[in-house]
Structures are given as structure tokens and as C-alpha cells.
Symmetry: C2
Subunit: 358 residues, 2 copies
Amino acid sequence: MPQTYFTPGPAELYPTFYKHLQTAMDEQIGSISHRSQRFRDLYKFADEQLRTLLTIPATHGIFFTGSASEVWERMLLNCVEFESFHLVNGSFSQKFYDYANALHKHALVFEKPFGEGFDAAEIQVPEYAEVVCLAHNETSSGVQMKTSEIHKLKRKYPKKLFCVDMVSSAPYPDLDFSIIDSAFFSVQKAFGMPAGLGVWIASEACLTKAERLQKNDSLTIGAHHTLPTLWKHYKTFETPATPNVLFIYLLGKIAEDFNRIGIDTIRKQTEEKAKMIYKFIDNSDAFEAFVKQERHRSQTVVVATTQKPSAEVIAGAKAANMVVGSGYGKFKESQIRIANFPATSADQVAALLEQLTN
Amino acid sequence: MPQTYFTPGPAELYPTFYKHLQTAMDEQIGSISHRSQRFRDLYKFADEQLRTLLTIPATHGIFFTGSASEVWERMLLNCVEFESFHLVNGSFSQKFYDYANALHKHALVFEKPFGEGFDAAEIQVPEYAEVVCLAHNETSSGVQMKTSEIHKLKRKYPKKLFCVDMVSSAPYPDLDFSIIDSAFFSVQKAFGMPAGLGVWIASEACLTKAERLQKNDSLTIGAHHTLPTLWKHYKTFETPATPNVLFIYLLGKIAEDFNRIGIDTIRKQTEEKAKMIYKFIDNSDAFEAFVKQERHRSQTVVVATTQKPSAEVIAGAKAANMVVGSGYGKFKESQIRIANFPATSADQVAALLEQLTN
């Protein structure tokens, strides 16, 4: 009996995924050369569809990596000479910060407790920070930072490069790429695909920085997937190394499906489903919303503290063929996480909430 | 009309691939958590099957990356403090060397012209080289280094770490992992899968080196996919970041299929098919084997210089629904490359040779 996955990634596959996979197999996409016109066409197609979906201007390139975690490293290697600044309020924003330390960058941090969010007004970006690293959506705690706040902060510090982790929210956030320099996501969240592909959006300003750092003998921007190499190949819709051709094809197709529905509709549906879930939680004695401030509540990953041990709640849903995520880290046994991605319909969400009532 | 791909990667998918993919979809492998028992079981399964197939001892871990190219960087970051040594005789061994330079390692090289191979007796490994980087099979030129020669060289320099690129030959080479420290491959070659997964085999000696370098403040071993982090998670068959779960599942299944046939049979079949191809080329006026020394001729990627422009040969095969690769780089128009992987049978090879006769 198939399960419906409400887990925050890997997650439920988007309903059209299977059809596109079948087409890919019929067209032998798994065997085509990554140096062929067929590949260049499908990279270009994915690029165009993502550009339309997320309103990405011509100043920004779209690149593919093995995962979003890889992008943390690439961004720091390519765009930080000395100092990065991190907004940390959960496990994934923490990992971005940890990566900076592992790379011996001077990493500065403004930290909030797990479950709390950031507003622009309270943030002072340190004078020498080159890149501001922040998560639009912190997957571990279900906290979002509103895009309006991200934009406000960038306008206050226009010379800093801003890199936004939208791993578990894209395409939901309406980031303004006329001011945001870089963002990234992975496909196993809201795009409803299996894991195995990271997507990195980066501006010409990031490239310029990387090219400058590459000339500096006292540091390295890495060897694999450096921004100058990615960009050079991107000009002809190629990649420096053999990429996950099949998943790039599938991502293009799913982005096209999203564009057919329209990004405004997808965002509205996401908000409507999130409203259903939070309303249910707020009215339930068995659950409590973990994130107190409404403006910081994630629209795509809802975290609830459970009255019962979370394992019982999860087992109850499982028995009804629905899979919800456990809490993250030390909240594993006291919280559940419900993904609210395009792959699950309002009806499916309603069925889950009905089940959680029992 | 489906094509048969004789390209050296991406290549023809292994015949059982489609069945395994269907099972994976039925079992919703694309949605399972990489922190679940189901995932740990499938990593363990792939690990066991690869261990059996390639005779990998318990001293070595098996790790997954985004690609084999990523492994070049990981190996150099994790295991080279100052100096690496490279045997270069084609574009991919050259790239391994280029990566070392990009990472500001002191990279030393022993170079041979494109199309020529290495024997142990002629190689002097420099005194301070920490890692010897060599390709069992140079995909660009169709040159192999016999495993007996690789082993001879390692025995001459037992204290050096040896890292073998077997990207376009595994599982063919019978590497002796009781003396070889590290090797790597990607799945879109002889394993007959779509691209998107690299496999890195590394020994405890590599881990010890990485742990030592990690304590050294004057360098970084990177942040993503460091050997200590990979190994720590590997102990419970997990990964530091979300991996390509679906492809790890599929790789385990295909390795199991290979084990059912038996590695000796697969190696014998590979050699028999290679013999057919080289015999045809040697007897043909239209083709000439690019690699003159028989002992250096690759068993898995056969490169032939064409009498006609290679584009005509490729177009002729294409018209008969068979895809052969063009020459690499500057040999694009004067050579063809024929992959000899397990996915194509002796009958299919015979059909190709029949077509090339015309």
C-alpha cells in the first residue's frame, strides 16, 4: 500500500514525476552524452523553466551540484576571502556556519534559540563580513525568515553578498534576485524529486569575487565545481564534470509543470495548506506549534510539539499510510515535522489532519 | 527506435536497470528518509555487494559522492599535506593533476604522450610524494595500466598511498585492496546506470592521514564530504548529507546482478569482447588501433583512428541505431571510442562490428 510522505525531505514525489521518468527512460536520457546537443537543450530548458518560476534575471547563472550541502562549501570557497556572517537558529544554518569554520574562514554568527526567527531590524552585519549566509527556511525547527525582511536587510547592507538557503522552501519564497546575489536548494524537498541534485543560483558579482580570489595565491577556491569553471561551461549549457543528467531533465519538466499552474497559485496553495495545518495545531490539545511568532512560522515545514511521545503520533499516521517526520536532533521524541510541499494536495493534508485528530 | 549506446559514459544502461527502477518506484525509495533503517539497510546492501564484487577488505570504507570528479578533490584535500605524484597520459589523469594544482598542492608529474601507457619499471616515485595518483583506465585515450603493474609499483613504494582512478573500468580491474589504499569510479560507465553518483573506496590509512591533516591549522581538508565525516556516518551506514538514495539502491541491485553472474565471468566476457573489437580493428583498412602496445590497450574503452572522418563512421552507426563515441579533445574528428561494458553483449558487439565493416 503506497504511503503519502509528509516528511521534510526526502519527501513525497510530485505526482507527474513518474510520467516524466517514464519518458526519460523511453528517450534514453540516462545514456546521452553530457557533451551532446541533446544535453545542452535539456540544461537550457531546465534553466529557462527555473528562471521563469523564480524570476531569475540574466545576471545570475543556474548551476548543478551533487547536493545543497555541497553548495555551502562552494559558496564559502568561492566568495569568502576572510570573513562570513551567519544567522543561525537551527541545525542547518549551524552547518553552514560549521562549514565556514572547517574551511578556516573567520566565521561570525548571530544566533537565536531553536524555534526563534530573525527580523531585519535586530541584525547588525559586521563591518568586514563579505557574505551574509542565512536560511529562508530552517528545516530543523520550522522557522522562516520573511523575504521582505531578507530584502530589507540586504538594502541596509547593499555591498555585502547575500546567500540564501532555500533548500526546504523553493519555489515558495519570492526572493528578489535583482538584489539577492545567491540562493540554493535541493530537489528532494518542494520539487518532489528523489535526492541527488543541488541547484545553485549565483550572480555575476559572485563570479567576479571568485575570479579575484582565484588569483590570490594564499587561498584556494577549490578544484571541483569552482564558480569560474561552472560559469565557463554554463555559457554553452554544459557542466565541468558529468552531472546528474537524468535529474536535470526531470527538474526541468517539474518546473515546467509548476509554471503551468503558475507560481502565484503554487504560493497561494502553499499558504492555504499551511493555514489549515497551523489552525489545526492551534486548536488541538494534542499539539502545540513550536514556533510562537506567527511571522516566523514556516509555510513549508510545520513543526509541532506533541503531547504524546512523537513516536506514537508517527506510528498512528503510519498505520493510515501517512508518513510524518520526527522532530530534529534533541526534539526527535517530542516533536513532529509536517512538510507542506506542492506534491501533497489540500485533500491529502485534510486527511492527515483528520488522522491526527484521533 | 531505441539506440544501443557504445559510448564510454554515459553509456548503455544495464539491461536489469529498468526492472530495478520500477521496483524502486513501487517501494517509494525516492521518498524514504536517509536517516531511516530502510536507508541504512540499502547502503549496507550496496556495500556488501560491492565488497564481494571487488574483494574489498574490512580495512576499507565505501563512500558515495556526487561524481568521480568530486573524489579527485576529496582525495587530494584529505590525504595530501604537501605533495602528490601523478601519472598522466590523457585528459582525465591530467585533470586529477590539475585539481592538485588548483588546491595548491605541490603536484609532481610523470607524463606520457596521449595513447601511451605506463609500466612499473620505468616509474620513479619522488621521495616526498604522499599519494600516487594513477588511472587504471584513461577514458580519453583508451590506455590501461595493468593491475599487476600497479601492484608491482605499490610494492616498490609500500609507504606511499596509492589512489587508482577506475572510473571507466570498474568492476573489470582485479585491484588488490590489501595493498591499494584508495580507488574510485562513477556509475554511468561499466555499471550501466545514469550519471549522478561517485563511489570512493578508501582505507583506514587514508582516514588516519585525513585525521592528522584535520588537526593541522595551516591547511583545510574541506568541509563537505571530508573523509573523517564520511567514515563516522559510514559506521552506521549513513551519510553526512542527503545522498542520491535512489542510485545507491540501484547500484546495490546491479552489483548483485554482477555477483550472480560472477566477477570472473564478467572479466572473461569483457576480455573476449575486447578481443573481438581489437581483432576487427587490426584486420580492417578503415580503422587502426590508437594504442600500439597490446599490454596498454584498454579492455573497456577501445580507441580507433578512422580512415574516414570519424563523424561519417559515427553517422553510419547511428543510422543502424548504434551510438559510438567520438575521439576525445583534439582527436574528436579522427578517432572513435567504443565502450566495452557489461551492458552490451557479445552479440551486440558483433552487430556493431558488422555495421562498421560497411
